[in-house]
Chain length 295, copies 6
């Protein structure tokens, strides 16, 4: 029998650069979160949820310690903290693009350092000391690692020989005339649970439903609905030429000879497919937006 | 026969905190209103409409006097002014939330005042002197009521014993360590008409069509479209378990054994229903946004 | 055989007031353009496209000279520069409204100048010296034309007798107490190609597909999807009374007696049609947004 | 003997458009006021002062009632409320300019109303019902006066025949094509005291010192220091020609034949005086800014 | 005899990047200019002045034509327009720094163009077609010059071979990897008069007084007042070591042995002088700001 | 002999909340620092200075290591890092107020923790792990200290038992219902030098001159100049009653009987002194602002 106190899931969400996209994702999943001025405890229109806003760097630690049942944070910080948690779902969104973020070993463009081996005896600045230490140990390299409080990319070559920093597209690094030597880790947000919460049936079910809706909202971001009418005899050609139109719903139009086709496709292929459809004789092609897609 | 001059409906819309959501509602209803720098007379792409932007406090008065045919303003200010008007439609939207606003009698948390009776001989500040006077008379209480020009909530307890103020969620009152003693009135926007305009057949029809569209847009804010495919033998279970899926459109998919289900539901229940549908074996669940819903 | 270098289309897009709506149009057509700090070379997620951001005034010239394969710019500046280019497509969008922009001959409200003939021997300021010269020659009028570096509308009557300036709605001219004497030209954006690119089969096909998608996105801006259920016996009445519901998709609902009707219509007529449909007995009327419409 | 509780002066300062210039004036007078988020009780670095921020409209009332010892508010609102207070000092500053604000009777440019007598039986909107009533009574005119909640200037001629509104320069009225018929009152901030506080010696002295410093800071806004060297034999000519150089400090320079002149003058006459001084043979003319001037 | 209409000086001031520093300079010179929404005719608190805000490019032309008596604009645009005007005063201020602006011939860093001679037969873009033409003619070089509507610096090398553009510090050019080949002209604001106004005694005197005050305010920007006390026997050493302390005012302090020294010096040398003074034994060194300095 | 390379002083200045006041202080000291977009290396108009912008947390470390000759950073971070540096000067300015910042041990208002001894076995979050560890060791207390990545104040009591955080006025702590148990350290900016730079005569002299000017500018912030005329026979009374008028410059006015008094005093006492001076019979009291004060 579950009493009231077990029917509460305490979840940590990340402050900072991931906060806005995370709030937006919850909103599209159907959860309205209102951040108050003292933003640590936002309210949400689900009485079974209790939200805490914390730095992404710390969420893994507090889930591991059991102060939070679960949380959303980067795969990188879970590793950095060595947090012992269960992964409920991968949520591949990010701050600006849909690319994963990467932790990379970076040196000035004209540095003599070409591989990790060249770091022997050098000085490295980074916000992720744990990741960097593990990486150097794996390669049998010894170097001075110092914690960077920010603006890491300006420190080479004057203050350190190399840095380990985060990047999405690498364009900021290129603008600073820096060169990537190696990638230590790819990262993206993960929905993680404490061991204890994962074993509690009510909490686990609650987390899985939440993951289903978050993924449904995430998927819909990059998909659209497509409808069109096609001469019936072109149907086979269409299905043959356009395999990305997977499993469309096809219905026969009154009057004969034409079919209505409806499907969900990746937004990124629409610009290739519409001209092909038009060339096949399709008419009345419309594209419409989606809120959620659950397969 | 109606000549050109009778085919014009003059409507007052509220300035201030309701202006933005009102403009947005008209826009979604299909009316593009452009506010010029001298914002009293915005233009609109309907030659039969003439818009005036006025304070919500004054619209009821000018509709009653016949200077305007109709207007949208709070139910509270209609009562405060004692305006003698016809209600064309309730429009339950508000500034920030979907909650009605309330006029409440408020005192400091630690005030000895527990009921309206304790106000006898006290001093009360409010922007709504008419509402407050009526309320006190109803309860047989005599007190000094003074008009507050703003920032009413800071005046207790130093300058007055109690205030009558407006609130949506009460959170601002709690932050100021105030306590609600009683609720005088719930309010929300109303579309009201002058007596004369209501008797004019052209104006009345125009107002009713406008109300239909405004309500259609308002309704669509909280609803979404839902489509999914379901094994045919689960259809009955679905309709039984999920009564909120009212009157779905069901069509049989080619190939047999599966049905396509489409319906309109409240956005707030989607997060409950999608996991249930998934558990029933539904596939290809998509949710899409709506502009208008007219039953 | 087309090698890599021919499979690149270099397109000029306008900076300034048309930049935002142009970026937005490409985005809705499926192209994500990211402007960097040095905004001349934005990146785009299509490796076959190379974008240059230039002043609308100059794009026609550089397309004509062959430095760009194609570009989007105003019909006015193409004429002003006398650029010899091919028109791939008209794209009737603009800065603020959906109106075309116009180049107009303007004088102070109380000026004695009533027609172009009255300009004989006068002084005219304009940014479009070519258009103005052509126009005066056509009317056999001789006048001093001087290049205006901006804020043209303040120069009459103190510094010049008349101006030739651009306007969308004319409201800014009226606010400045100016009067329009004549319209020299209507303008809107055009997608234009150099003669050489137009003869290159790969480039031409690429431009035509791009035009198809841009027009699809443009069309969708002013259209919506409409669905409704109607008693079957009212179907004929509906099609008769509401001709703007062109070629709806009609399907019979299970249970008999009702049909489901779905169509795409202009957003601007929805507000007229919904009340009519309601009066005909329609139920479950919903309107939904579209991303693209390709006939 | 004055105990601790009497050594506290409670002063009301105006919120809104006068708040910023009032805070600035106190700051230049040497009082640092820090407004907190709940802005009713700002803190100040003088333990003998307790500040309350209130609407200018209400300060006179609360000083009169004795809830505040004193306050700064407009002369207009003191009159409007009929507040019975003592004037400690006039403080002639304002929101934007150094002009007094005026309450004026205003009609549309083309209104037939030419004098107050023409208002007989008309409708007037105003925020200052008391001032307007008194004014009409004085002229023996009867008219409907209605309280305006704001944007008063847009109401003529559609909703009312005339308005009584506030203006500094009249330019906003001219822009709205309105005409001033009469001036009801000139206003500027006043430092007022309750009758009781005025009789308390400690409070009165405290208020007078405060008034001295506020006036010193106010005066310095429009004055500058001027220093120059002049051939001794031109001194008489200078004093004769430039009477606004009142009572300069004159000292003889070493080396003979020249005097150093130093004085404080109105900033507005500097631009007239410097060329005259230069013409008289003055050298090394410098102008420097002042914080306070106390005669 | 000068009647009222001749006692008006019409002056053109530059809009755009020079507008703010020009308004600021007038303000410090003692003229309060208030820009209205229709910014062409700002008002000023001197009834003898009438101000017009125009593009810097056009002011020389309108002064030359006599539509304006005088104006402030760049020396460059006066030359570009070939305006035939009198220079009343040089006013060496600029947008951001105190450096003059320069028109420079610019190419990409790696361009083969090393001298103006290498431009033979090339294409050059510029906003200053007159300056560029004159410059090329002087060097006997023939090239295509095209008018650039803006963002000139992005056009090399893709669209043109070289540009003639404006720069203050050259840092923006370096950031764009461009190289300066030659300087065509140095520029700074000038106060210029029409030939006719220069011959009118009243206008000329008015302009000269205005120039005196503008220069006084300009000078004060880079100067400060300095006071200090010094042992009398160090006076000679001070005057010897610190020649930039030109002509100080020296007075003997009561008590003997010390002198008070006061002078006006360039702000830029204060940081060198104060430590020297301190080393000489100076005490009570204070530096204070100035509004105007007229020698 | 000092060659060019030794005549360069490399100084680290703090980014973040101290950046703006530090830039402002240098500016008033006579150094114009221009921050570029890549803000690590701002330029300065002194060729002997090379500035690096770094986090306050890191400056001590890099000065100690000799990568920087000197730097300005908080006394707290020097201690936290255990940086072995020389203190050139204390610079008592701060972000918002003139108060020193304090590192305080903080608990919830209703926590049972009353003294540092109560922390035995508890969990503490802080950004300053070194300071906290040293403090606990000094008191013989053992506790878990965890690094806080930010928003430390929200973590009690849910995630930790106490925090060690920074505060200026304590008002933010009070607003969060937290209680200060103890103060670990007071902090303010210090100008620190590496051991090596301190031994280099040129660098040391350069640093001392810089410190002199920074302190001169800092002092001037809180001081003003005061001038007044006084009847000669009141002079002694003035000097007796107003000891804060330390060492005024007194000169006899022509005409006899009056003296001119000039001095520099703390701005905070002016408001007390002016009314006293006025009461003594002083006239022409003026207060003027200062840029620098060097005793």
């Amino acid at each position: 029998m579950s009493d009231k106190s077990t029917q509460l899931l305490r979840i940590g969400l990340p402050k900072g650069s991931l906060q806005e996209p995370t709030m937006d994702l919850f909103n599209r999943a159907g959860y309205n979160i209102i951040a108050h001025s003292r933003s640590y405890r936002p309210s949400v229109d689900d009485k079974e949820l209790e939200i805490r806003l914390l730095r992404a760097q710390e969420i893994g630690r507090y889930v591991d310690l059991g102060f939070l049942d679960c949380g959303i944070t980067g795969r990188d910080w879970i590793a950095e903290n060595g947090a012992d948690v269960e992964v409920v779902a991968d949520l591949r969104y990010s701050k600006a693009t849909s690319l994963p973020t990467r932790w990379v070993l970076v040196v000035p463009e004209d540095s003599p350092i070409k591989t990790v081996q060249d770091l022997q005896g050098k000085r490295i600045a980074t916000e992720a000391m744990g990741l960097t230490k593990t990486y150097l140990e794996k390669h049998g390299v010894q170097a001075d690692i110092e914690f960077s409080w920010g603006a890491t990319e300006v420190k080479v070559p004057e203050l350190v020989d190399a840095i380990v920093d985060i990047t999405e597209t690498g364009s900021s690094l290129r603008a600073n005339k820096l060169r990537i030597v190696d990638t230590l880790m790819e990262s993206y947000p993960q929905f993680v649970s404490s061991k204890a919460a994962y074993l509690d049936p009510w909490k686990r079910k609650k987390m899985e439903r939440l993951a289903l809706l978050l993924n449904g909202a995430l998927e819909a971001r990059y998909k659209v609905g497509l409808k069109l009418n096609l001469p019936e005899h072109k149907l086979e050609a269409m299905l043959h030429q356009l395999p990305s139109l997977r499993r469309p719903t096809i219905s026969h139009l009154a009057g004969g000879g034409w079919v209505a086709v409806e499907t969900i496709i990746d937004e990124s292929v629409v610009r290739e497919i519409i001209p092909e459809l038009k060339a096949l004789g399709a008419e009345g092609i419309i594209e419409y937006p989606l809120n959620k897609v659950v397969h």
